[in-house]
Symmetry: C2
């Protein structure tokens, strides 16, 4: 079946969450949001493109930082309301310069930093 971005289930803002995962290590790098056009652009260009909720604009990941995400494969879940994008990540994915945005763990009830920024 041909894939059509319009067949995904978007929320009231027209957005769907997209989880970015390093296709080699399996590390979960970040979660951001796409609209139907961002999904289409990601598939067409191979450059992972989100919709920035704060800027209300397309966000080609790494466009300013150089920390681009090359799409390896896009997957959708059983409810068609969430995406998983397997990526090749150049440099850190997080704006704090850490490899992943999920660098804080809860251990023994306390927030614990698990990763330091790359230099």
């Amino acid at each position: 079946m041909r894939f059509d971005p319009a067949t995904l289930v978007y929320d009231g803002r027209g957005l769907i969450p997209a989880i970015a995962q390093d296709h080699r290590s399996g590390e979960v790098l970040m979660l951001a949001w796409m609209n139907a056009e961002a999904v289409a652009r990601t598939l067409e260009t191979g450059r992972v493109t989100y919709w920035s909720r704060s800027r209300q604009a397309f966000w080609v990941k790494g466009e300013s930082s150089g920390h681009v995400q090359r799409l390896v494969e896009m997957r959708l879940d059983c409810d068609r309301d969430c995406l998983l994008v397997l990526v090749e990540q150049a440099g850190p994915a997080c704006h704090t310069n850490r490899r992943s945005c999920f660098y804080t763990g809860i251990r023994d009830g306390a927030e614990t930093e698990l990763m330091t920024p790359e230099v």
Copy 2:
């Protein structure tokens, strides 16, 4: 710093997305939603507990199916608006009996089934 679920950033419905990842294989299993109380219950009980948007009720994963998720570690992202739960997953995570909800890949523009249901 002690972790307080109230310090997370919830959406207009009081919910935060939670990505469940197999702590050994790194496989992304599913995405579901938690409210502050579900976050607290997950940490207290070690049983991953979501908020079901369709049923408007707490959803202790596997309570009826037996496909429980034991919490290994909860992580939060840089914006505090998304959770990653590393879990030990008993059986399939997906209600279709597949290991992961992300069993559909987009390959050459077509939806492709990547996993079959477990028997």
